[in-house]
């Protein structure tokens, strides 16, 4: 069985592409991006379709690439009675995600001071391999943080109560259980709260380059040339350890419950099993850890702006627009075959994109739909999108999460040989700071698909809609 193009923006991976598929696969992709589509990634979309209890289809977004078990960019929902949950469908970096902060500043005010700002930000926010956070957490602090997420951060002076209204799930998931977290995860988490990490994680100072929907931009408080800050990071070593721990637990569960798996990294357990209950409660702890992390980093970002611009918080107006998770599994209500049912939605490198009127949206966004934040590479752009009714009906209210790599790190380093990526970016008005040996070469624009193409696909497929394009002027990388 071969893949089949359904329309300009979708292809189908038919039942039979791999043995045992229960539902088809649907990949949102146009002909431009299809040339990057790896066969391994298609196979992974098909493999997910073999898992027990999967409903409707195994989806993948246009930024798809090969991952572990599930493809990156994958979305799959499972029936709560018959379905499974898989750590491979969430990823190692549990609740890796993005937040966007707006300001009252315009780019003309920021550009003269951008070098200083980037220096201060990179000094205040620990990043890179081997970096340690500024917070010294006791075991009890860690426990509280696991339970309360961003709320813990706000209660401890990192940000404002109002921030919590602008975070997916209010910045924490209930029923996280610190008693299920391994000693190792506690240890890895202790020193890494409030750190950015490395690789594709970043903190970016940007400005609003283009607005596609004035009314929606108004509701989000966005206007042309306005300076924004985007933060992309996750649950750091804490989440990685929880995933590592539970892949082992799930490998045993697969034998115990006699689940057929085409790939070992799809290890999973029935949602109703004890193993699943434990993973879910641990995953929630990691999700909360990540929300606290982005909250702390945002707090230091605000402080850095206050220092550099010598303005009051009120005059700076650095309000959180929204914070989204793009590696997570959640129980949600969706309409399937005309019936409203609860399902376990896995999003791995995919973003929730709920439509206008959804009960989980904060009051201020009820009319426009959920803000969706899509980071691109450090040289091009990032996007603000909104969730749509069509997306809710079609892809479990999900959309893409970023650009997705096209070059491996070595290919990128080879391509950057003899060039100064830092200077090239400076020449187009982007100041970057990175502590990594080869980070700038690895992360250069050419290493990624063009985010504009990715966003065009999800917008044309109507699973989300465009509000604004943001262009970087200052980048902090690990």
């Amino acid at each position: 069985m071969n893949i089949r193009r359904i329309d300009k923006f979708r292809i189908e991976v038919p039942i039979g592409y791999v043995e045992g598929m229960r539902v088809p696969g649907i990949i949102y992709i146009d002909e431009v991006l299809e040339k990057y589509l790896e066969e391994d990634a298609i196979r992974q979309v098909a493999n997910v379709a073999t898992l027990p209890g999967i409903v409707k289809a195994s989806y993948a977004m246009p930024d798809i690439h090969t991952g572990y078990g599930f493809a990156i960019g994958g979305v799959a929902a499972f029936d709560l009675e018959e379905g499974v949950i898989s750590p491979g469908g969430v990823g190692y970096d549990i609740n890796c995600g993005v937040r966007l902060v707006r300001s009252n500043l315009v780019k003309e005010e920021v550009i003269p001071k951008i070098r200083t700002l980037v220096e201060v930000l990179s000094y205040e926010i620990p990043s890179g391999v081997g970096s340690k956070g500024k917070l010294k957490l006791s075991k009890n602090d860690e426990r509280q943080l696991m339970l309360k997420g961003a709320k813990w951060a706000v209660e401890n002076g990192f940000g404002e109560e109002d921030d919590l209204l602008h975070i997916e799930s209010g910045g924490y998931l209930e029923d996280a259980d610190p008693s299920l977290i391994s000693e190792k995860a506690y240890e890895r988490g202790r020193a890494q709260q409030g750190t950015l990490g490395s690789g594709n994680h970043f903190l970016e100072v940007q400005y609003v380059e283009e607005i596609y929907d004035r009314k929606a931009a108004d509701a989000l408080g966005l206007f042309p040339n306005q300076v924004t800050v985007m933060i992309h990071t996750g649950s750091r070593g804490f989440g990685h350890q929880i995933c590592t721990d539970f892949i082992e637990v799930m490998a045993r569960a697969v034998k115990k419950y006699d689940i057929y798996l085409p790939d070992r990294e799809l290890a999973c357990a029935p949602i109703k099993s004890e193993e699943a209950r434990q993973y879910i409660a641990a995953m929630k702890a990691a999700a909360n850890y990540a929300w606290a992390n982005r909250q702390c980093i945002m707090h230091w970002t605000r402080e850095s702006f206050i220092k550099v611009f010598e303005m009051s918080p009120k005059d700076l107006g650095m309000k959180l627009i929204y914070d989204v998770a793009h590696n997570i599994a959640k129980v949600e209500e969706h309409i399937i075959d005309g019936k409203k049912i609860k399902v376990m939605v896995h999003r791995k490198g995919a973003t929730r994109a709920f439509p206008p009127g959804h009960p989980e949206l904060p009051e201020i966004y009820k009319n426009i739909g959920q803000p969706v934040l899509i980071p691109g590479d450090m040289g091009r752009a990032s996007f603000v999108l909104l969730g749509t009714k069509e997306g809710m009906e079609e892809s479990f209210g999900s959309t893409c999460h970023g650009a997705g790599r096209v070059l491996s790190r070595h290919q990128a380093i080879r391509k950057a040989k003899g060039r100064s990526i830092r200077r090239e970016l400076e020449e187009v008005g982007i100041i970057v700071k990175s502590v990594g040996r080869e980070t700038l070469a690895e992360e250069m624009s050419e290493a990624y698909k063009d985010i504009n193409n990715v966003v065009e696909v999800v917008a044309n497929a109507k699973i989300s809609r465009k509000v604004a394009k943001l262009r970087p002027i200052g980048v902090v990388k690990g």
């Binding site: 991952g67 190692y92 391999v129 081997g130 890895r188 070593g237 350890q241 070595h410 040996r437």
Partner: protein, 139 residues
């Protein structure tokens, strides 16, 4: 065959292929391969020694657990190894002595941040003249 490793990368991640005469070589070289992603290990001292015992129910699981333990050591203590002695190795148990140093950003280069060793496309095979393993890391 001299035990050695080669690194490679996929579009989004990195991996190593390890060659050796026996399984002890494989486990030792896999560790060196992992550390070489984190920093330039030539610049490391060997003043710190660590002794580790790892348990699992198969060689494959033991290999992944061993590498994940090393990732844990780096993440929590900043420890990076350079000389690895595999003292004991069976299908269920590994005992190793590692000499290396604590990562110091002023002295050591920052390489790639490794999240975990994975089972994705994991290979551990006996070849005509020795053993070979392939391991992919999530980064």
């Amino acid at each position: 065959m001299k035990a050695h490793f080669e690194t490679f990368d996929t579009t989004a991640d990195v991996g190593i292929t390890v060659y050796g005469e026996n399984l002890k070589d494989i486990f030792g070289q896999a560790a060196i391969g992992l550390f070489s992603f984190i920093t330039n290990i030539k610049k490391l001292d060997t003043k710190i020694s660590k002794s580790l015992e790892i348990n699992a129910d198969s060689y494959e699981n033991l290999l992944i657990n061993w590498l994940n333990e090393l990732i844990f050591l780096f993440d929590t203590e900043g420890f990076v190894g350079k000389d690895i002695k595999i003292k004991e190795l069976s299908e269920t148990k590994l005992i190793a002595m590692i000499k290396g140093d604590f990562f110091n950003e002023k002295k050591h280069s920052r390489g790639v941040l490794i999240k975990a060793a994975t089972y994705h496309k994991l290979k551990l095979e006996k070849k005509n003249n020795g053993w070979m393993a392939t391991i992919l890391f999530d980064i």
